[in-house]
């Protein structure tokens, strides 16, 4: 045994740890309650029929609106949430559906919207640009290519799923 613990120290440690134990018993439920969104897993997204026959998809990106249903805490919009995908065919004829969310800071990109940058996706917030296949143009703010939606084809129609991770 090393140093002797004085009576005062012993009492300080005992009282301190008892108080700490009681306080943590009180705080734990509240903190766990507050961090619940961090620990919750996201729901699995389904594929949505976007009402677009495959034959109408061309090499030119086309904004396709589709509606998904998901619960936001206690709130579920009756008419769902409207999302957009930029849908096109790539060189080998496969369908590509890009998310319009800019990878810089989350604004919304548009195809061909800036006359200075023909045939590129353009983000008005900080002038981020992407090529037609979604790769970010070097020297502009985004550091990653646009997200791709998972897609499926059923009965000649396009189904859009969650963003590829």
């Amino acid at each position: 045994m090393g140093k002797k613990v004085s009576r005062r120290q012993f009492l300080t440690y005992t009282l301190g740890s008892t108080a700490g134990f009681l306080a943590s018993g009180m705080l734990f439920p509240m903190v766990r309650f507050a961090v619940d969104p961090v620990l919750k897993k996201g729901g699995s997204a389904k594929y949505v029929d976007v009402n677009l026959p495959i034959s109408q998809i061309t090499q030119e990106p086309k904004a396709v609106q589709f509606v998904i249903h998901r619960k936001d805490g206690w709130y579920e919009p009756e008419n769902g949430e409207s999302l957009t995908a930029w849908v096109m065919k790539d060189e080998s004829g496969n369908v590509r559906a890009l998310s319009p969310v800019c990878k810089h800071l989350g604004c919304t990109v548009n195809w061909n919207s800036n006359p200075q940058y023909k045939n590129q996706f353009f983000c008005p917030c900080h002038f981020g640009r992407y090529e037609k296949d979604g790769t970010n143009v070097p020297g502009t703010p985004p550091t990653k290519p646009l997200d791709k939606y998972k897609t499926k084809i059923a009965n000649g129609r396009l189904l859009i799923g969650p963003v590829e991770s």
Binding site: M26, M30, F33, D36, G73, W74, Y75
Partner: protein, 223 residues
């Protein structure tokens, strides 16, 4: 390490006298349950404060999920109670704590009354204490409406009818509290604001005054 950190701060800010002034004071024998067990009746004031601290903390956390709106209020309460980890416990702390706070406050008032501690020179602190009592009742009343269920709705209707029975001013008080022609959207928004901003601010101010006065005047002597 903690000690070194404390000393570093104390050397610069001289905080030692501040907390010593708050914490270092003698507990007289007649209020110390270690000497006379019956002195536990002197604990009710401190217990009331402890419960108030729990109410403030649990209320802050509940406010992370609660929405004061007639469409979403009940749904957000159901969500935080049923779908979040520990939701029932945090809401339970606030729900039961509200009643415990009133009980403790009442026992404290009884102790002060029967030990005659309200007498000169402590009359003013009695007045402050009674003000705290009314603010706490106000917190209970405004909090009751927030889950926006049937119990909340009709309890508030009854409460507002009682308020409207005040001579001359009743109708004005009722309209002020109701915020509109019916117990509805405006009432809920108003009760929420009163419950989380106005009344807690008043409560903290009054508690501060209550504690300053008790330190100035000291605990009343033995019977």
């Amino acid at each position: 390490m903690l000690k070194a950190m404390y000393e570093w701060i104390d050397e610069r800010l001289d905080i030692n006298p501040i907390w010593r002034d708050v914490a270092d004071h003698e507990v007289p024998e007649h209020v110390n349950p270690a000497h006379h067990f019956s002195a536990f009746i002197y604990c009710f004031g401190g217990l009331t404060f402890f419960v108030v601290v729990i109410q403030i903390l649990s209320g802050m956390f509940l406010a992370m999920y609660f929405v004061p709106d007639i469409v979403n209020a009940n749904a957000s309460v159901a969500y935080l109670q049923n779908e979040l980890a520990m939701g029932a416990i945090v809401r339970g702390m606030h729900h039961w704590g509200a009643s415990v706070a009133i009980v403790m406050l009442f026992l404290h008032t009884l102790r002060v009354f029967f030990t005659g501690s309200y007498k000169h020179p402590r009359e003013f602190n009695w007045v402050v204490g009674i003000s705290i009592f009314f603010v706490m009742l106000g917190l209970g009343f405004t909090g009751y409406l927030l889950p926006w269920d049937n119990k909340a709705y009709f309890a508030t209707k009854v409460g507002l009818e009682i308020a409207s029975s005040v001579p001359f001013l009743g109708a004005y008080i009722k309209t002020f509290l109701q915020g509109g022609d019916i117990v509805g959207a405006q009432t809920l928004a108003r009760f929420f604001a009163l419950h989380v901003f106005f009344l807690p601010a008043a409560l903290l101010g009054l508690l501060g005054a209550h504690f300053v006065l008790i330190r100035r005047q000291g605990i009343s002597g033995p019977l």
